[in-house]
């Protein structure tokens, strides 16, 4: 997956007439990929690592203030909460990034 991201960088076609705009878009895209990478890392850790690979080991612990075995909690509750939060964080950060690079859609439809 990571490889396919970086491949996207090769041979950027300058369909956008303005060279400055093209460079700005390329930088915007790099920042976007970095953000995606970080968020997907969290996505992977809470579900595949905490909820699956290390679930049995984490079951030795209990989620504080409850009676959940920790690995079981990640697999059936915690990962889902984190997914929801991840998307809202992504929306906030991406909308900010759009504005920073002046590629946002404005307020109108």
């Amino acid at each position: 997956m990571i490889e396919s991201f970086s491949n996207g960088q090769e041979g950027v076609q300058h369909s956008v007439t303005d060279q400055g705009t093209a460079a700005r878009h390329a930088e915007y895209w790099r920042r976007n990929i970095r953000l995606l990478g970080a968020l997907l890392m969290v996505w992977f850790v809470v579900s595949y690592l905490c909820g699956i690979v290390f679930a049995e080991a984490l079951n030795a612990f209990t989620l504080p203030f409850s009676n959940f075995p920790l690995g079981f909690w990640f697999a059936q509750q915690g990962a889902i909460y984190v997914f929801v939060i991840l998307i809202f964080v992504y929306v906030k950060l991406m909308n900010d990034l759009d504005q920073e690079f002046d590629v946002d859609e404005g307020e109108g439809a």
Binding site: I52, Q76, I80, F83, M94, D98, E105
Partner: protein, 567 residues
């Protein structure tokens, strides 16, 4: 009022509501029919996506499956929610910027090839029919048990309703009906869950009840259930029996499949802007997670209740619900040792198990097992129908637009007028309803299992083609076509072999690397990625205008409304 009266009343009221909405929101153009005019608010779209997404499998089968699978059921919980993260981050905003009507539209244009378009159409129809079969079976179960009509009549009524609003209203009718259906189904799911949580753990919030204390024994609920399981010779509830690798692969197949399902993807064409597409995925997952974090609690409550109410009970004094469900054949008792009592035990017990319970009934029978009021039972029936019908309608729309738009307008008969295209879309939706009805009357297996295969197929076909189409400009027509064909063929062959050709060999010893047919879509997806990337490097790079198209979908500005893309 009796359960029967309540059920009739609530089901009839909800159906009247759906039909009313359909009449109010008739489609008058192809744009209305395919993408609801492109002006749906992100919140409404999120709700509609949630209803579209949560099918009979989520509402009726999932909690039941988890109830019997324990930890292993986590694959459905994480798999069917984690895909939305992929959808939000990797697909929805870009596809919205591109602004097509269908998934094959994007594939055909990005890969500058009619062949790619046709391959995508075939994959979309194949995946959608696999999925819709499960929905109709769900409709049949609800009607059969609650309204005590013949299953075939039940499926017929369901078909008539879907026919009415999908054919008349297209995406516009479906979207606003789905908003209503979400409200019905979530209410119907939460009410019994809250009742059960109060009864068993004393807290009204099921998510906390699950980690709470069992009032009857004073022990933590999960510990108590693990104890019961141990006594009866089942494995511990909070640990799984599937191999870690298989759980990993099944979860991945479900996640990626979710992100690749055409009826989910097209929902994000209906909002006005890229930023709306992003946030509406967030709303969708928030609405979905309400049910998905409640389901594991319902599973544990149901499991505990079932064991407490039937284990070692004399058959002559079983509760009323037991006898009713026995009539449908979904629960059965075979007094192996002839002592007249029900022994419900697991594989590790020295005793013989005498009770067979179909997993699909756990959610439906739950309110009766817990002695909840009659209206709650009727409500659950209406909720199950809302879940099945909303998903069926979304799928039928994909099938109909695949035929009228992708196959006719964009491939075979480009000269047809918009009016003719709209007529073709309605006819295709009508035909699809009847095919789906046939599957409903001749159902293939468990709802959730059939649906699970649709994910493997979606994961191994669309997902890599779309992702690489956005993130790697070097991906070529040849790469994408060969990738999709090899991915879906490999996955379908593996599933068909182990389920239909040689079902006797369907066990971990014979599976490749111990990966079950449910999880094989992940391997199919990896194969698709590998084939696409290798072939792309060996073929001519895509034409300049396609690379420019990729550049343009990467930035949000200028999304405009959903439109036909012309090159």
């Amino acid at each position: 009022m009796s359960v029967q009266t309540w059920t009739f009343l609530l089901v009839a009221a909800s159906f009247a509501l759906y039909i009313g909405i359909a009449v109010w929101s008739r489609a008058s153009s192809t744009k209305d029919f395919y993408v609801a005019g492109g002006g749906v608010s992100p919140l409404a779209n999120g709700m509609a996506t949630a209803a579209d997404w949560m099918s009979a499998a989520s509402f009726i089968s999932m909690a039941g499956l988890i109830s019997f699978m324990g930890y292993d059921g986590s694959v459905y919980l994480m798999g069917w929610t984690g895909g939305y993260v992929l959808l939000a981050l990797l697909l929805a905003p870009y596809l919205r910027k591109y602004g097509a009507f269908t998934v094959p539209d994007f594939v055909g244009d990005r890969y500058y090839s009619q062949l790619a378009r046709i391959v995508a159409v075939v994959c979309a129809i194949f995946v959608s029919f696999t999925y819709v079969a499960g929905q109709m079976r769900g409709v049949g179960i609800v009607f059969g048990r609650f309204l005590e009509v013949d299953v075939n009549v039940g499926v017929g009524i369901g078909m008539a309703i879907v026919f009415f609003y999908a054919v008349l209203g297209g995406m516009k009718g479906i979207t606003y009906t789905q908003v209503a259906q979400y409200c019905v189904l979530i209410f119907a799911f939460m009410v019994p869950a809250i009742f059960l949580s109060l009864m068993i753990t004393g807290t009204p919030i099921p998510q906390f009840g699950l980690g709470g204390v069992d009032q009857a024994s004073g022990m933590p609920l999960l510990e108590r259930l693990n104890g019961l399981h141990q006594e009866l010779g089942f494995g511990p509830y909070t640990s799984g029996t599937k191999s870690t690798l298989d759980v990993f692969f099944i979860t991945a197949a479900l996640m990626v499949g979710t992100a690749g399902l055409p009826h989910v993807i097209i929902r994000f064409y209906t909002v006005p802007r890229v930023r709306d597409a992003r946030i509406s995925v967030g709303w969708a997952l928030l609405f979905i997670s309400l049910l998905y974090t409640t389901a594991p609690a319902v599973a544990v409550f149901a499991r505990t209740n079932l064991i407490n109410s039937v284990q070692d009970v004399p058959y002559s004094s079983v509760p009323e619900w037991f006898t009713k469900w026995e009539d449908t054949g979904l629960i059965s008792f075979d007094d192996a040792n002839g002592d007249g009592r029900i022994q419900y035990v697991g594989p590790e017990s020295p005793l013989t198990n005498e009770l067979t319970v179909d997993r699909d009934i756990m959610v439906l029978a739950n309110p009766e097992i817990a002695n909840l009021p009659a209206w709650v039972i009727g409500l659950v029936a209406a909720g199950g129908l809302a879940a099945a019908l909303s998903t069926a309608a979304g799928l039928l729309l994909v099938i109909s637009s695949a035929v009228s738009h992708d196959l006719l307008k964009r491939s075979l008969m480009p000269e047809i007028t918009e009016k003719q295209e709209l007529m073709a879309a309605r006819i295709a939706a009508g035909v699809a309803v009847f095919v789906a009805g046939y599957f409903g009357m001749n159902p293939p297996g468990f709802v959730a299992q059939v649906v699970a295969f649709a994910f493997g197929l979606a994961a191994s076909s669309f997902f890599p083609a779309i992702i690489l189409g956005i993130f790697s400009k070097r991906t070529t027509r040849e790469g994408a076509i060969l990738g999709m064909v090899s991915g879906i063929t490999f996955t379908a062959a593996y599933i068909v072999y182990f389920n239909f050709v040689n079902p006797g060999a369907n066990s971990a010893d014979n599976w490749w690397f111990g990966i079950s047919p449910e999880g094989i879509g992940t391997l199919g997806m990896l194969l698709n990625f590998a084939v696409t990337m290798v072939v792309s490097r060996m073929t001519h790079e895509p034409p300049e205008e396609v690379q420019a198209l990729v550049d343009s979908i990467r930035v949000p500005r200028g999304a405009g409304e959903a439109h036909e893309f012309s090159m």
